[in-house]
Amino acid sequence: MSNTPRKLFIQGVLDALPLIVGGVPFGIIFGTLALNAGLDIWQTIGLSSIVFAGSAQFVAVGMIAAGTSLGFIVGATLVVNLRHLIYAASLLPHVKHLPQRWRIPLGFLLIDEVYAATYPNYLKNLNDKNNHWHYLGVGVAFYISWNLATLVGIFFGANIDGIANWGLDFAMSATFIGMVMPHLINKPMVGGVLTSALLAVLTFSLPHKIGLVISSIVGMGVGYAIEQWSSPKELS
């Protein structure tokens, strides 16, 4: 019944490719901006390879450039990445049978794109015992591409005039839109997402990215509430 590890790993790499197309420009602009903010080459490589958290790396570099103190940057990292805890909770039933030598790398690799690319595979192959190989394939492919893109930004960004103003960061928004839209197929999901969208604008000026947390949690609550109030027939 189960697919082979090799087949699932390769399928994971293939499923990661569309999201990598969006991640690469974002990684390039990160490499460029980090140097502009005053980090050296190894520190920039360190952020992408050791922390491996696109949006948090972006936020941190912006805060370093603005002269923010260390404690606030670490706090912002916590807030910006807190959503990964939600992804972990959602994948928890699917990884609990694995030994720690699997859970540790799978945890390290748990970013938005990896979750978005591998979670549907768990739903599709519900009883497959090797689904963690798909997860690993997505994660490894994204990790390598993110770090290569950072290197490109480091070594070519400085030579290309004004690359920081090109708007390569739009790639992140395009990717996220592509990941969100397919979910908007019923009232609870639409209600939750619209709530998050509205609150994200209203709370944007709150300090330390706290608006992101408020918008996300309230949106989830609204989606859940609509689901509870609707009859099953209305949901489709």
Binding site: L110, V180, G192, S215, S216
Partner: protein, 105 residues
């Protein structure tokens, strides 16, 4: 500031968030209501990130044709809903974004 200390702390915080539940996966069981609510998490969180990036690229609401992020995002939304293909969504919306930014503005 000690950048390497910052990187170490950021890595620690980030890894802890991602791994904490996995670490004790056998001992943790989530309430079923929470599990139901979690399916809304990714779309809501991602939207809370991209909406301000697109509507307020300079930190203030920019609902005008001078905002290429708004144009690109509109294309992305239409293509994503219409074709349901993430690669096509990313490629066409980025092409429109850059074309608009350089050729129109």
């Amino acid at each position: 500031m000690n950048i390497w200390l910052l990187i170490a702390l950021m890595a620690l915080v980030t890894f802890t968030i991602r791994y904490a539940l996995y670490a004790r996966a056998n001992a943790v069981s989530l309430p079923s209501k929470l599990e139901q609510a979690l399916k809304y998490s990714a779309p809501c969180v991602l939207t809370a990130i991209w909406i301000p990036a697109v509507l307020m690229p300079q930190g203030e609401l920019a609902l005008s044709l001078d905002n290429p992020y708004l144009i690109g995002a509109t294309v992305a939304i239409i293509v994503a809903l219409w074709k349901k293909n993430i690669l096509l969504t990313i490629v066409t919306s980025m092409a429109c974004f850059f074309a608009y930014k350089w050729l129109v503005l």
